[in-house]
Subunit: 462 residues, 2 copies
């Protein structure tokens, strides 16, 4: 993780070639240890012992990881890694030149290899796609995802139509210096202390957890934009999750976020429910004001929650965002299942964008070539982005049911009760509970879409 953080934040560009070798060597060594037969023998011995609950979980997860790692033959893993590297390179050029045909063979290869990999990973009649999903969200069922996404695909488009009529998205021309000051001060008030955090700039915001007390988040500042105000709290949510895992799990295989969707729920919680909160806008507006950019909390809030259907996922508003994900889920599922040919992807993308979000795709570069994921062989990753939004809303409602409305507290940036609730109900468990079990433990309910609909409905109405 440090090699990656350094590469994206600090490394001189000419360091890239050697860094690729370093990461490759480390991946090989890690794989060698993660799949060693010796490890299986040790696990067998431990499974025969009487262990306490924590150690039982250590062994249970070690067994699961070891078996999954061993199911994929080394040769296939090597082909997948090579195809991913190649795919990203081809994709980058194809996107620049808006040339889907140039990308199609690499995508075809990645789809085929993902199918092979999914077949290796599949357990007891599991579909190939569901097996791939397990890389990101172990135990999640495709049928469950499909049901939730179908319901959203019914409920959200009417809200989008409503929003389109009522609330044109506003912009705020915030200078970079004011963004930088407001981001720094807001994070400081959330507990981001230089003695155990870093805040840096990178091309794409991300979070690295180097150790419990060494959290590193990045953001980016574009002149006249508000993105940094949202993305910095998004990354803060990822970092806080890892910081608040029970210290008893330190240096075990359990000391990590449990899944991609749960991780994304933590970032979305701070992005959607704190940064985009009407009361919290007082906090950010005050910091912008202190940095010389006067804006009323109302205007700031309206900008942060403005809905505007568009082509690009990463800059989508909170209402249309899940629709971008549903589109990708449907298409990647169809490609892996074989019901959608790679050559037909651009057309299918256009059709889905019109149906789900009501916008017309003007180019493949801004259509099916916009994301890097498939070029790197990542199929089954996209759903977690939307599931994160749903889980965040469900957790937020459960929290407010217990703590009372949080508005007053957010107005004065009093976030300690939120941090504590999340630590107690979500973070401390680390990997001991998988996504669905963790959600039920925290909220008493299975995954639902209603909390999210209750969150976005007012945004649609402006």
């Amino acid at each position: 993780m440090l090699l990656t953080w350094d590469q994206l934040v600090m490394m001189p560009e000419q360091g890239a070639g050697v860094r690729a070798h370093q990461l490759g060597a480390l991946a090989r060594l890690t794989h060698e240890r993660a799949t060693s037969p010796e490890l299986g023998e040790w696990l067998g011995e431990l499974e025969g012992e009487s262990l306490d609950e924590l150690d039982r979980d250590v062994v249970r997860l070690a067994r699961r990881d070891w078996e999954r790692a061993r199911r994929v033959p080394e040769e296939l893993a090597g082909e997948i890694a090579a195809a991913a590297t190649d795919g990203q390179e081809v994709w980058h050029m194809a996107r620049t030149e808006d040339d889907f045909a140039a990308f199609a063979p690499a995508l075809q290869r990645n789809v085929e290899l993902a199918r092979e990999r999914g077949a290796c990973l599949s357990e007891s009649g599991q579909s190939t796609y569901e097996a791939l999903l397990g890389d990101y969200d172990f135990g999640l069922r495709v049928e469950e995802v499909r049901a939730v996404f179908s319901a959203l695909a019914e409920e959200l488009p009417p809200l989008v139509a409503e929003a389109r009529e009522r609330t044109p998205r506003r912009t705020l021309d915030v200078p970079v210096a004011a963004q930088r000051a407001a981001v720094g001060e807001t994070l400081r008030r959330l507990g981001v202390d230089p003695s155990s955090w870093r805040l840096d700039v990178s091309a794409h915001p991300f979070t690295a957890w180097i150790g419990r007390s060494d959290s590193r988040i990045t953001t980016r500042y574009s002149d006249g934009e508000v993105e940094a105000l949202l993305s910095s709290l998004h990354e803060y949510g990822h970092a806080l999750y890892e910081r608040q895992i029970d210290p008893a799990l330190d240096r075990t295989n359990l000391c990590a976020g449990t899944s991609m969707s749960m991780h994304e729920s933590q970032s979305k919680l701070w992005e959607n429910h704190v940064a985009r909160d009407r009361d919290f806008a007082e906090v950010i507006a005050a910091e912008l004001g202190a940095a010389g950019f006067a804006v009323s909390p109302e205007d700031l809030h309206r900008t942060l929650v403005g809905v505007e259907p568009s082509l690009i996922r990463v800059s989508a508003d909170p209402l249309t965002y899940p629709l971008h994900i549903i589109l990708r889920f449907e298409l990647e599922l169809a490609m892996i299942e074989g019901s959608l040919a790679v050559a037909d992807l651009p057309g299918a993308w256009r059709e889905s964008m019109a149906r789900l979000i009501g916008v017309e795709v003007d180019s493949d570069a801004r259509g099916c070539l916009q994301d890097m994921h498939w070029s790197a062989g990542a199929f089954g990753y996209f759903p977690s982005y939307a599931l994160g939004c749903l889980i965040a809303a469900q957790l937020w409602e459960a929290m407010e049911a217990e703590l009372g409305s949080l508005g007053e507290r957010l107005r004065s940036c009093e976030v300690a009760p939120i941090q504590l609730w999340l630590a107690e109900n979500v973070h401390r468990h680390g990997r001991r509970l998988d996504t669905v079990a963790l959600l039920e433990s925290a909220t008493g309910r299975a995954l639902e879409i209603e909390p999210f609909l209750r969150y976005v409905a007012p945004l649609a109405r402006g």
Copy 2:
């Protein structure tokens, strides 16, 4: 190396605990591989093959490293590591409180463990100290070091006495901003390009080579000092050595500087023979002037080469510097051999300082407690600092014999011929030649003190 660079330059302070675990785990894994019996079997097979010259050197050095690593029992290595960690902690407190008695037991323990380790490493009648020296300078003989240092201990004190009468050291009150600008611009003119170098600030200047095109040097700026102008070129010399190793050695065990003394010769060459050169002062003075600090090249040069006997090694001038090292060599040799008891160290230090440098020690904190090395169990490391000064001077004379006087070129910062000569005669070999063989290959002569005496004599005369 990246973990260490990050720790000293970027890491939030609370990351220290986890970082210690990370470094410890990596050291254990590295040791495990470096000493594995399998490696010995492979080497045995390779030694029976017909190999080209490069591969023969790869195998020869791998055999040497493997055997040295295996000679120290794992248990002893663990005790040494623990005593070093403990020793540094105790030393830090003892130095702060000027309390040698508090440090003595930890030092005693380190001396005993070093003796044990030396006994393990010793080959065919080698003395314990010489075996320890091999950690830093493989193949170097204690008798050789002793002879060279004895001659210096004769020749330098009269020059120091001469300097004391003639040239009081001058100071220049350079503001930090001007230092920073001059360091950055001077390095840029030496080829330090942000696309493959980093220049950062750390408590103690050092160099990290993360990859051939990813060199990272650090410096520090103190108001009213000129140290940064010297130390930044010192670190540049270390980095350039590793950058100019023959690319054919990339990713082999030969792709590193060959020894501590040869590495130090490369840093001292740029510090003593470039940064302290009368003509190169034109370059630095111009950069200081451009940054708003007007100084004549003559005044700058006089400050950079001023001689002033003092108590502290790290800030010593180029003339007295080797005497600080000779003192440490004599005392650590005596402690390892058993002819100097740890309890008698403070007295011996005072006596030697008076004899060699002619100054009176006012406290142990500024006397025998000033350096960290012994607290960390590093015995045999100090000599390389002085040997580096001698080798730098010898290389510089050989270079000028071939290229002609370099003064005119230095005046206009034309350093390409120097870089090329060093690449061809020193750097490209990596670890293929040990210190003495490399020096002979580059200069046609064994290690001598005369070039260094010719370099410092004019400094003594002012």
